[in-house]
Symmetry: C2
Subunit: 216 residues, 2 copies
């Protein structure tokens, strides 16, 4: 009975890692849409989100079945709940990539991001994609060290976000109000994607070590 | 045994309603800080958030104990999981009110919100506070009709957010880039508070009727 349970739990974590790779693609393509102004890429992200939502439902159904049929206690119970929370985080990350794509679509064929702040936004997107990719590995390998390392990447993201504010509020900003509004929101979306990656990493640490993650 | 379980579940929902009223206060005071420039009010929200986090931990501990000791199945199991999700939503709403307070603190003693968009932001805050207050009642009374009515309020919030964009991007906007960045983020925070209220209402509908809420 316990073996069936743990096999099923492994299958849930494999599915979580697969969803995380879908999210990685979504963030990557949304960023391509943003930096090229290509509406077809934006549409691809927006319509593709339904697939992430369906994958989330599958994980939830499996997790509920595990809880109902196997009635795990203590550590096992907390692992299943952690999996349910991780899939919520992943689904939110998918939503946030859709928000990025929608800003791209709103300005297409023009670019939402003015040249002046393009390197910083590009870097934020790279950090976000790298963090999501690493998160998929963390889930797959239950890699506690890699999970802990994600927090350092998140500090890089926070520093980049401060850079965007400095650029927008500096005397050199000539792009006006509309791009500033877009960039403020884009910065928030990438930052939140990174936050969720760190939260998921914390949940993996908890699953492996039994240590409670800090509040998310 | 079942009676003990349901008594404990009722206690969890009472605690959720109490946390929701704390969140209501937090959103209200953060808005006061924002519209008056009073840093003491901003600090009150920022330091008060720890209390919401602690209340969240208490609910989680109780929910885990319920799951471990009583091993509920089917509907009861889903109700406990719904409670765990609701407390996550409430904690995020508290965080979002802290974000509002931090923008207030950043500009104090000046006002982050320029006169031109003040009525719209004020209205957004009023709608948010009303929605959070209503959500506390929805949780306390398991009121499905009131829960469904929250979705209509959320449309009002979305319309107000569109108004802020129209105001910032209109030819009349003379406040410049910095207030536009602040207002863009404030609009996002109030909108997210409202989103979480609707999500919680959906979870209450699910708890009462057994109908799955739409994906959050």
């Amino acid at each position: 009975m316990r073996t069936v349970f743990h096999d099923q739990l492994d299958a849930v974590f494999d599915e979580l890692a697969a969803i995380c790779r879908q999210v990685e693609t979504s963030v990557r393509v949304a960023t391509d849409a943003l930096l090229t102004g290509r509406s077809d890429l934006a549409e691809q992200v927006i319509s593709g989100d339904a697939e992430i939502d369906r994958a989330r439902e599958r994980v939830e159904d499996t997790a509920y079945a595990l809880l109902s049929l196997q009635a795990p206690v203590a550590g096992d119970l907390r692992i299943v709940i952690a999996a349910l929370r991780m899939v919520s985080d992943l689904e939110r990350m998918g939503d946030l990539s859709v928000h990025v794509a929608k800003i791209a679509r709103l300005r297409t064929p023009n670019l939402a991001v003015p040249d002046q702040v393009r390197p910083t936004i590009n870097k934020m997107a790279e950090v976000a994609v790298a963090m999501v990719a690493r998160t998929a590995e963390v889930i797959r390998d239950r890699d506690v060290d890699a999970a802990a390392a994600l927090a350092a990447k998140d500090e890089e993201m926070d520093a980049l976000r401060r850079d965007t504010f400095a650029e927008m509020l500096g005397a050199d900003w000539t792009a006006g109000v509309e791009p500033a509004v877009d960039v403020a929101l884009l910065g928030r979306y990438y930052e939140r994607i990174a936050d969720h990656a760190v939260t998921i990493a914390g949940r993996v640490i908890f699953v492996v070590t039994g240590e409670l993650p800090v509040a998310d």
